[in-house]
């Protein structure tokens, strides 16, 4: 049996790659117009990454599924009324050592790092995700 | 491989043996995947109209897919409907049973269809385990 190699699939996939590039360029252009980053938020992202929070939690649904979603934790815990204080107190109170409950480590963050982290989580909670997550519990 | 549109210039009983087997298996899969009901009716029509001689592979595939499609209806539609109408919709346990049941059943039936199609393409007979007639 002789195979006839048609170039059609290559043609279609190139079209698709072009479409992907076009959409990517559009996405990359619109994003910075919507999201305003400050040095504190950028530092907060770094704190988030360097402590591997994603190893247990999800952020915008990505990460491990062992601990709660945190993209909306700022709002869930009361926003500008309580979110800041709650997150700070929470991180300082870890681990809870309640038997039978999953434990979170103590990271010994400085006040600076805590504030940056909270700014980052606040910023994240403001991302337009088309009302995801479906419930405030994450 | 012979080419050409089978539905033009040909009565159905002139469709070659292997092609008919392929059509039967494709209709079985279409019924499961994209055109539930419609593809089944087409299969029933072919099953009745086509001169399905049991010694030929077309006969084998037609009877196998016809029988298997009836099982599809029973397992996926009837059983699911019975479960949903008897169980409490407000309990998560209902969905923890019904969804996995449906998905597992459906994908196993699709896999059997793919194997049937593979055999039809190779010009061989195929017997659906349990849900196909034994001869």
């Amino acid at each position: 049996m002789k195979i006839k190699i048609s170039t059609k699939p290559i043609y279609y996939s190139s079209l698709i790659v072009l479409l992907l590039l076009g959409l990517t360029i559009h996405t990359t252009i619109v994003l910075p117009q919507r999201d305003h980053l400050t040095p504190q938020i950028i530092k907060g992202k770094m704190v988030w990454e360097e402590h591997n929070c994603i190893g247990c939690h999800t952020l915008l649904g990505e990460g491990a599924y062992f601990a709660p979603e945190l993209s909306n934790v700022y709002e869930r815990r009361g926003g500008s009324q309580g979110g800041i204080y709650f997150i700070k107190a929470w991180l300082k109170a870890m681990p809870t050592n309640i038997p039978g409950r999953r434990q979170m480590p103590q990271f010994n963050l400085t006040e600076d790092e805590l504030n940056a982290l909270i700014a980052f989580l606040k910023w994240t909670s403001e991302i337009n995700t088309f009302s995801w997550p479906p419930s405030e519990k994450g | 491989m012979e080419q050409g549109n089978i539905f033009i210039n040909q009565g159905i009983s002139e469709i070659p043996d292997r092609k008919m087997a392929i059509i039967a298996e494709s209709l079985y899969l279409l019924n499961l995947l994209i055109l539930p009901g419609i593809a089944f009716l087409a299969l029933v029509w072919l099953f009745i109209k086509y001169d399905n001689v049991s010694t030929r592979i077309s006969g084998c595939h037609l009877r196998q897919t016809f029988s298997a499609s009836i099982w599809v209806g029973l397992l996926l539609v009837l059983v699911t409907w019975v479960m949903l109408s008897t169980m409490n919709h407000d309990s998560p346990y209902t969905w923890m049973i019904v969804i996995p049941y449906f998905v597992i059943c459906h994908s196993v039936l699709v896999l059997l269809g793919i194997m049937g199609l593979a055999k039809a393409l190779a010009g061989k007979k195929f017997h659906y385990p349990i849900i196909g007639p034994s001869s």
């Binding site: 999953r102 519990k137 | 593979a118």
Partner: protein
């Protein structure tokens, strides 16, 4: 073995299998932590890190071994530089050990500080947790590997199988560049992280997998023309569906809404390559006729497409539609899919290759001898059945999680729901233990039984 340089595949395969066992062991540890037993000395995050990172690493070892084995034979040519292949093996192994020890012995933040993450932050993202310098090392290994393979093919015969393998390998190397791109805008960072992960798992790795599968099927049937005909269709479908299928990761991360349409429409068809793979193997392999005697390999090769169809195809399809993904995103459903898809597509293809190549590499004249074959087939069933059940249990937990946490009026808090799913997590852990027993039997078989009875 036709070409002596194929022997470099051996250390790669052995390392792959050994790391596989370690990876599963760490899986058992996190499984235990899921059922609320806190283990001293190791946190969930650390164990999970090792579990997922070792998975990627050992699969890469497996792919490299497969390529070093297949390419000389397909190109009818000794490996361009087998010394380089051996050198890269040791470098890769050293990188793996250093990274794993770093994760184990240091707090992650300290590891990040020591390796200078603050100067070039790339750490702390799922699957990309390795320190930046380790990533650089990995990139160097991939480059050297690609170079070696490309030069061998360039000087030798070109077939569809070795060219496809080359595209997969070079593609994986190029795509890895995105590991170094971590913009400070979280949304963009997530956007480009998927260029690595999605284009590996559903792009270049899938091509590698298809090439290996085609090679094995060719070895079983001996008919190259028909294998290439099918391979051509499968690859064409893979390429046209996966590229924009990446949109299924972009629904809720803050990018424009059109991604919901793009992702849904294209990724629905990502099931097709797996559909065609099943069609291919069952169309081509005629079990009653073929002379090929290694039954274990036949079993692995025929089951891989079926399982891939279920794990990647069906379970992927289930949560790939945007309206479904709205509820399932970031729940145990994702975890169920990730487990079965990785096992069925990549673990199984590497084990197929190992089962095929190792007896030949060890120069065993008779492959098909009683005990060894039986044990391997037993290991196959233990692993495959237990992994399928594990995925089922996790998926059931996921349905429950969605129902109580997301789809009701009065949603319960995360931790309470997790406690109520503990039965499913126990069942999953039991499945994991059975899987581990399967792995141990598989390994024992290779390193003990085959040595004893193999040369008979």
């Amino acid at each position: 073995m036709l070409y002596p340089s194929q022997a470099v595949a051996k250390p790669y395969f052995i390392t792959a299998i050994a790391l596989f066992a370690v990876q599963v062991l760490f899986g058992l540890i996190i499984g235990i932590q899921y059922v609320m037993i806190n283990i001293p000395f190791i946190t969930f995050a650390t164990a999970k890190l090792i579990h997922t990172n070792l998975l990627i690493i050992w699969l890469l070892f497996g792919f490299m071994g497969a390529a070093y084995y297949i390419i000389p034979e397909e190109s009818e040519q000794e490996l361009y530089n087998s010394k380089l292949a051996v050198l890269l093996f040791w470098v890769f192994l050293a990188l793996t050990i250093i990274t794993t020890l770093g994760y184990l012995l240091l707090p992650y933040a300290t590891f990040a500080k020591i390796t200078g993450n603050q100067f070039f932050p790339t750490m702390g993202r799922e699957y990309l947790e390795q320190p930046t310098i380790i990533k650089l090392g990995l990139f160097a290994v991939l480059c050297g590997f690609s170079y070696n393979i490309a030069m061998t093919i360039l000087h030798g015969r070109k077939t569809m199988i070795n060219l496809l393998l080359l595209v997969g390998i070079v593609g994986s190397t190029i795509v890895f560049v995105f590991a170094f791109y971590n913009p400070s805008n979280l949304v963009l960072a997530k956007y480009y992280r998927w260029w690595l992960l999605h284009f590996w798992l559903e792009g270049t790795w899938e091509l590698i997998m298809e090439a290996i599968l085609a090679y094995i099927i060719f070895k079983i049937t001996g008919d190259r023309a028909i294998v290439e005909k099918w391979l051509y269709i499968i690859v064409a479908v893979t390429l046209t569906t996966s590229v924009l299928g990446i949109g299924h990761h972009y629904y809720w991360i803050g990018v424009p809404e059109y991604w919901q349409w793009v992702g849904t429409i294209f990724s629905v068809f990502e099931l097709l390559p797996f559909f065609f793979m099943v069609l291919f193997v069952f169309n081509v392999v005629n079990c009653t006729k073929c002379q090929y005697s290694n039954n274990a390999v036949k079993l692995w090769a025929l089951s891989t497409p079926i399982m891939a169809f279920l794990g990647a195809g069906v379970l992927g399809f289930l949560h790939t539609l945007a309206p479904v993904n709205y509820y399932s995103h970031g729940t145990q459903i994702t975890s169920a899919h990730a487990h079965l898809a990785f096992y069925s597509t990549y673990v199984m293809i590497v084990l197929t290759m190992v089962s095929y190549a190792m007896p030949i590499l060890r120069d065993h004249k008779v492959i098909n001898h009683g005990i060894s074959q039986k044990l391997e087939i037993l290991a196959f069933w233990l692993m495959t059945v237990s992994m399928s059940l594990m995925a089922l249990f996790i998926a059931i937990a996921g349905i429950m999680q969605i129902y109580v946490q997301r789809a009701t009026e009065i949603a319960l808090p995360f931790i309470e729901i997790q406690n109520s799913m503990v039965v499913m997590f126990w069942l999953r852990e039991i499945g994991g233990v059975v899987f581990f027993i399967g792995v141990i039997i598989y390994i024992t078989n290779f390193f003990m039984v085959k040595k004893k009875y193999g040369t008979r």
